[in-house]
Symmetry: C2
DNA sequence: CATCTATGTATCCATTGACAACATTGTGTC
DNA sequence: GACACAATGTTGTCAATGGATACATAGATG
C-alpha cells in the first residue's frame, strides 16, 4: 500500500524550493543544483516549481535575493550593537562578514555572480545595494567620535568593506597566507584605518 | 561537393578549445558554455576534446589557470615599470587590475570560483597564488622609499590589493556608487595608504 | 614494416530544463 | 450551493547536454 501522499496542493512550495535549494547549494555546489532533483526531494512533479519561478535563472535570482537579505540583516545587527567604541564595533562587523562567508561560501558566490548577470532583475540589484550600504552609518558614527577622518561616509566605508570582500574572495577554506581569515581580516581593516603611510 | 575538410588530426585542438572557450565565456556567460557548441564551432566531433580534457570541469580549470597566468603577467608588467615613484606605480597597478576585470569579467569570476572548488587541482591553486603574490614586491620597494610603514610586505599588500578585488566584486558594469571603478579604485587605495584615522 | 601511441569519430545513454496540455483544488461571487 | 475563474499541481514530450565506449585514422618509434 502506498504511503499516504501529500495533498495535491503543496501549500508552501515556493519557500520549500528556496530552502532546499539553499541547502543543495552549499552541499553540492551551484553547478550541481538541479530542478528535477529538488522536485524529487520535495515529492512534486518536475514542472511544479514553474508556477513559482519562470525558469532556473529566476530561482537562482531568488536565492541571491534571499542571501542579500540575510547578509544585510547580519550586517545591520552587528552595526546596531552600540555598546562598544568605534574600533570594537568595526571589528564585530568584520567578523560577522567573515562568518557569513564561512557558512555560506557558495551562496555568497552566487549572490555576486547573479547581480552581475546582464539580465539581473531590479529587485536583485536593489537587494544587493541595500545589503552593501550598511557600512556608511558606522563610519559616520566613527567620524562623530573623532575616530575617522572627515569625508563622505559612503566613500570612506568602501576601503574596509571592499577589502574584507576582497580577502574573502582571495581566501581558501577560511584561510589566507596560512592565517585564519577572521584574524587576517581584522588585522587588515586595522591597517586600513591606521593607513600604510608612515606617521612621522 | 563537400568543402575540403580539415585533416583528421586537428593539430592544435587543445589550444583552440581554450581560445574559443575564453571567447564564449565573455560572450555568452559561463552558464552557457557548451562543449558541444565549442566542438561544432571547431568542426570536430563532440568527443574530440575529451582527449585533452578529462571532463568539462577540467576545461574550466584550464581556463582559470590561463586567466591567472594572464592576470599575473599583467600585474608583473605593471609592477616592473619602475620609472615613477611608489604612489604612481601603485596607481598603475590598480588601473591594470581594474582594466583586466573590465575586459575579462566572466573569466575573473570563473577564476575565483574555480580555485574555491573543493576539487581544485594543485596547479590551479599554484597559478592563483603566483598571480596574487605580486603586490609584496611593490610594497617592499615602497618601504625602501619610506612611503610605506615597516612590516611584512606580504601582509601589508593585502589591504590595497584585497580592496581592489572587493571593489571589483561590488561594482556593476565597471561602476560603483555612480563613479567609474577606475577612479574609485584609485581613490580608495589612496585612502588606504593614508589611512582613515585622523592624523593629529 | 609492425607496433604502439595520440587523437579523432560514431553511437548510445541518462539526465536535464523548458514547454504545452491537462487535472485538481481554492476562492470569490451570485 | 453552483459556477466561473485563478492558483497550483501532473503528465508527457522535446531538444540539448555531458559522459562513456568502441572504433577509425594518423603519427612516432624501433
Amino acid at each position: 500500500m502506498k504511503t499516504p501522499k501529500r495533498p495535491y496542493h503543496h501549500g508552501n512550495l515556493r519557500d520549500a524550493v528556496i530552502e532546499l535549494a539553499l541547502k543543495s547549494l552549499e552541499t553540492h555546489g551551484s553547478q550541481n543544483l538541479s530542478l528535477r532533483e529538488l522536485s524529487r526531494d520535495l515529492e512534486v512533479s518536475h514542472s511544479a516549481f514553474r508556477r513559482h519561478f519562470a525558469d532556473k535563472q529566476a530561482l537562482l535570482n531568488a536565492l541571491a535575493i534571499h542571501g542579500f537579505e540575510q547578509y544585510g540583516d547580519v550586517l545591520a545587527r552587528a552595526i546596531a550593537d552600540r555598546d562598544a567604541d568605534f574600533d570594537s564595533r568595526l571589528v564585530k562587523v568584520v567578523r560577522s562578514m567573515v562568518r557569513f562567508a564561512g557558512t555560506h561560501p557558495v551562496l555568497l558566490e552566487l549572490m555576486f555572480a547573479s547581480k552581475n548577470h546582464p539580465d539581473a532583475p531590479p529587485e536583485l540589484l536593489e537587494a544587493s545595494e541595500r545589503a552593501l550600504y550598511s557600512g556608511p552609518q558606522l563610519i559616520a558614527e566613527g567620524q562623530k567620535a573623532g575616530r575617522v577622518i572627515p569625508g563622505d561616509p559612503i566613500r570612506l566605508a568602501l576601503a574596509p568593506f571592499a577589502a574584507v570582500h576582497g580577502l574573502i574572495a582571495l581566501s581558501q577554506n577560511g584561510a589566507l597566507l596560512g592565517a585564519p581569515l577572521d584574524r587576517l581580516a581584522r588585522e587588515t581593516v586595522e591597517q586600513i584605518i591606521m593607513g600604510l603611510r608612515p606617521r612621522d
